[in-house]
């Protein structure tokens, strides 16, 4: 599905990451971890085509080289990002945006009755008041409501690769449960590739199997299974990074 080959990432000629290699297959959950400011969100933005980032290397999606495609083209191919702070757009309602986006995706006019029915069902599952459908996108919404609204968009647009940038931050326990269950259900139903950027294990716990990647100082330092996340959370980034760097140097010697 997604293959990142020797990807180096720059912003204003400043190197953020060097030679990252990664593969995400359909139905897999990959967790990106690393200390604040290491550039995890930058990888997410580069993957969806934010042209503020300069990339070297290749991003292959479903066997197609998408390295030079813009965000619209990538979105059309099913790549979807939920940002840690979803933006608010005054004057554009969720329903209107989704109707336009869906008709663009399906290349046909949308049947309003079934569309409206589907939206209401998704709202119910997300415990989101249906009045949000006719409110401006994320305007006047709490952090938790914004994340649920972005999930509503996801369920309507049905992407095949989902990148979740700290979707769990700022959620109360109940909202986290709803978001986690919703993502799990989506994964079971549609088998997308999922990339989760997080600092806690609360969201990871919803997924029995996942791959964990530790990013540190310009590189993908270590990859492993779920136990790596627990190790990171128990020991902290500093200790685990030092251990790994020392053992890597010993090996080289």
């Amino acid at each position: 599905m997604l293959e990142v080959k020797d990807l180096s990432l720059y912003i204003d000629d400043l190197l953020l990451f060097n030679n990252i290699n990664l593969q995400v297959k359909s139905g897999e959950v990959h967790v990106f971890m690393g200390k604040n400011g290491v550039g995890k969100s930058s990888i997410a933005k580069a993957l969806i085509g934010d042209n503020n980032y300069k990339v070297k290397g290749q991003i292959i999606y479903n066997k197609e080289d998408i390295t030079n495609l813009n965000i619209y083209e990538r979105s059309k191919r099913g790549i979807y990002l939920i940002n840690q702070n979803p933006m608010a757009i005054e004057g554009v309602t969720n329903a209107e945006m989704l109707r336009v986006a869906l008709s663009e995706k399906l290349q046909k006019n949308i049947d309003i009755f079934s569309f409206s029915k589907e939206l209401n069902q998704i709202c119910e599952a997300l415990e989101l008041n249906p009045s949000f459908l006719h409110r401006d996108i994320n305007v006047g919404c709490s952090g938790g409501e914004r994340k649920k609204i972005e999930l509503l968009h996801m369920w309507v647009l049905k992407p095949s690769l989902i990148i979740l940038d700290e979707i769990d931050s700022g959620l109360d326990v109940d909202a986290l449960k709803i978001v986690g269950k919703s993502l799990k259900k989506y994964l079971e139903e549609y088998k997308p590739g999922v990339i989760i950027i997080t600092h806690s294990k609360s969201l990871i716990d919803f997924f029995p199997n996942c791959y964990v990647h530790l990013f540190s100082d310009h590189e993908l330092l270590k990859s492993g299974d779920k136990s790596l996340a627990l190790e990171i959370l128990n020991k902290g980034f500093k200790e685990i990074s030092n251990t790994f760097v020392i053992s890597k140097n010993d090996k080289n010697e």
């Binding site: 934010d50 965000i71 619209y72 979105s75 757009i89 005054e90 336009v100 986006a101 647009l157």
Partner: protein, 217 residues
């Protein structure tokens, strides 16, 4: 919705009306609580007199403004006005609103949205709060988007009284690249994203009646 033909001066007690202006200058005297709608009306001067204890909500929408407009508002005591206007200019245009707050306990909210697609749009809003008046509030909320044209906004509040709440907000800029990026991330083409954002901006201060009339909802 009732429609009212206005030739020059009209007194309105209460209710909601869509105005059809038959002359270039009209005078509206408000007595109780009134909602007024002006859609694509080519009027050049509007005089609004708010009697004591009256409330006016006025919505003026122009898909393409054809002429300069001057609005003069007079408030005496315990009156309230919400003046919402949204317009697109495709040539030079001038909008001047003068609000004279002469008495006490008045509220005024002037809220303007302008998309300048060609030419220069000049918007001058002046609220005057006279001396020895108390407990008045004046708000000016003015936003312009440059989409091929230019926007110049002067928000002025002249206060001669010691006891007043006065706020003005002005924003001029292009469409937000972040918002375009966000919509493109939902699978919407760049041109369509811009179109949606412009439409949203134009109707962001309009009420349901205007949106319905203009086919937005």
């Amino acid at each position: 919705m009732n429609k009212l033909l206005v030739s020059d001066i009209i007194d309105i007690d209460e209710g909601s009306y869509e105005l059809n202006c038959k002359s270039k200058e009209i005078t509206i005297n408000i007595h109780k609580t009134v909602n007024l709608y002006l859609i694509n009306e080519e009027v050049e001067k509007i005089n609004i007199n708010l009697n004591n204890n009256s409330i006016l909500n006025i919505y003026k929408y122009d898909e393409e403004i054809k002429n300069d407009l001057k609005v003069i508002i007079n408030q005496n005591n315990n009156s309230k006005i919400n003046y919402y206007a949204s317009f697109v200019n495709r040539k030079n245009s001038n909008l001047v609103i003068l609000n004279n707050i002469k008495g006490n306990d008045n509220y005024s909210n002037i809220n303007i949205r302008n998309v300048s697609e060609d030419g220069n749009s000049t918007i001058i809003i002046e609220s005057f709060l006279e001396s020895k008046t108390i407990n008045n509030e004046a708000i000016e909320n003015l936003k312009g988007i440059t989409n091929g044209g230019l926007v110049h906004i002067e928000p002025n509040i002249e206060v001669s009284s010691n006891e007043v709440v006065a706020n003005h907000f002005t924003t001029i800029g292009g469409l937000s690249n972040d918002a375009i990026f966000y919509l493109m991330g939902k699978g919407i083409k760049k041109e369509m994203a811009k179109k949606i954002l412009l439409k949203g901006f134009k109707f962001s201060n309009m009420d349901e009646y205007i949106k319905n009339k203009c086919g937005v909802i």
